[in-house]
Amino acid sequence: MLLPSRGTLWTYTVQRFMPPSPPYRDSTETFTPFGVGYVQLDDIIRVESRLIGDPETFRIGMALQLVPLLDVDGEPIYAFAPVHEETSK
């Protein structure tokens, strides 16, 4: 099934400390807090995802779209970002 690339934020938090490493790979020098949430894709599924954008702007129900994200090894993972950030660029 092809899932929609846009959705709405169902819930979220902000990862403010560096996750235990391993399995996460980063260093305390370069770590910056990141958003994590469940993004509801139509009425099909809610997927857990990294969130891009200013954590202070996250709100349940906000519109999000799929964006590419690379992990520290350069491996592609996915993330969602607020739709308005994309259109304002």
Binding site: R16, R25, D71
Partner: protein, 384 residues
């Protein structure tokens, strides 16, 4: 209430906190010795033991310390439900008549900081870890964030939960964190996993807890025992499409948490209704978990929590005292010992031995609940 088959006759606790130079196994063995002393029984009287830790060794090796009596000893490794699972095993062995006297023990000694887990040990792909999603606190932050949105709960209620925990911890000589903090100090502390601040979350810690149990018809052989009856002990795991720790995706129709099923079964088997419970210990991994678990276990309605905490219903002198020993927030969470600490506290309260934090009016019934990754819950119902 039907005639209960199993009684708790001894309780022991190695204080929770930090104990340099003392191993997890030593803390567990200390707790067993204290529980046996409390029961007036010897290690050689024990026919079956079950216990374990998450990361501090094999419980059955403590026979080197306690005595190699040849007893049956089951090692349990079941995450946050390690103590609860061990208790279920011993309860069933006693209730079935397979043995007369059993011991349950749980202990752990965790380093500082969040639990480090390998995705492959949890049936998850490696990317889940490298993406930074293998963090239990994220789940708790996201679950309470949604719950607050759905049920009209605001951050000050989260602060009230932690404030109560530290005040209760202050009255508990075995607790780790005994310094009361104001609701403002808790609300304004460093944010860890929104909406949860540093003081709303429990920390991995150290400690040990043990119980001695026997069949009720064995009580005539220990006339000095002060039994508290274990009316039920139930373990349940998650259902499809549930919102649990380490869930990469959720269905649209969420199944209830395993806490719901475990609590329902525990009440049914005990023949006790949630409304008949006088004191409750529920998993407070963080402030929000205490609020959610009270409702999931049937002890209040969803959305009722803000009012309950505002009017002090969950205080030691309230209608339904909750986490009277300070819970995980004040005691920390040595995973293997945590669920048995709840039972220890409940027995102490039902005996009337809880000192400064004794619940008034001679409580007769108690309930305990643990919850943890990846969606497991264990509950008990106890009575005098």
């Amino acid at each position: 209430m039907s005639e209960p088959a199993v009684a708790i006759v001894g309780i022991g606790l190695h204080p929770f906190g930090r104990h340099e130079g003392v191993s997890g196994l030593e803390m567990g063995a200390n707790a067993v010795r204290l529980a046996l002393q409390d029961a007036g029984l010897r290690w050689s009287d024990v026919q079956f033991a079950a216990g374990g830790s998450s990361s501090s060794g094999n419980a059955d090796t403590m026979v080197a310390d306690l005595g190699a009596t040849g007893l049956a000893f089951l090692n349990v490794h079941n995450g946050c439900a390690t103590g609860g699972s061990a208790l279920v095993s011993v309860y069933n062995a006693l209730a079935s008549g397979a043995c007369d006297v059993g011991v349950v023990v749980g202990f752990d000694k965790h380093p500082r900081g969040a639990f480090a887990e390998r995705p492959e040990d949890w049936s998850l792909p490696a990317w889940y870890g490298t993406a930074g999603l293998m963090v239990t606190t994220q789940f708790f932050g996201m679950k309470i964030q949604r719950y607050m949105h759905d049920h009209g709960i605001e951050p000050p209620t989260l602060a009230k939960v932690a404030n109560k925990a530290f005040r209760n911890g202050e009255k508990n000589e075995n607790a780790w964190r005994r310094q009361p903090l104001s609701e403002d100090e808790i609300l304004n502390a460093r944010m860890v996993s929104d909406p949860l601040t540093q003081y709303m979350l429990c920390s991995p810690g150290e400690g040990g807890a043990a119980l001695v149990l026997c069949r009720s018809d064995y009580l005539t052989r220990i006339p000095h025992a002060r039994p508290v009856y274990l009316r039920s002990a139930v373990l349940q795991t998650r259902q499809p499409q549930s919102f649990d720790v380490y869930s990469p995706a959720l269905g649209m129709e969420l199944s209830p948490s395993p806490s719901v099923a475990a609590a329902q079964m525990a009440f049914e088997r005990a023949g006790v209704a949630p409304s008949e419970i006088d004191i409750a210990q529920v998993q407070d991994t963080e402030s929000g978990a205490e609020l959610i678990h009270l409702a999931e276990c049937g002890l209040c309605e969803h959305g009722e929590q803000a009012g309950l905490y505002r009017r002090g219903a969950t205080e030691i002198a309230g209608d339904l005292p909750v986490n009277t020993d300070g819970g995980c927030i004040a005691n920390g969470e040595p995973i293997g010992a945590s669920g048995l600490r709840q039972v220890y506290e409940t027995v102490l309260q039902l005996r009337g031995d809880a000192g400064d934090r004794q619940v008034p009016n001679e409580p007769k019934t108690g309930f305990t609940h643990v919850y943890g990754a990846p969606g497991v819950s264990a509950c008990t119902v106890l009575s005098r």
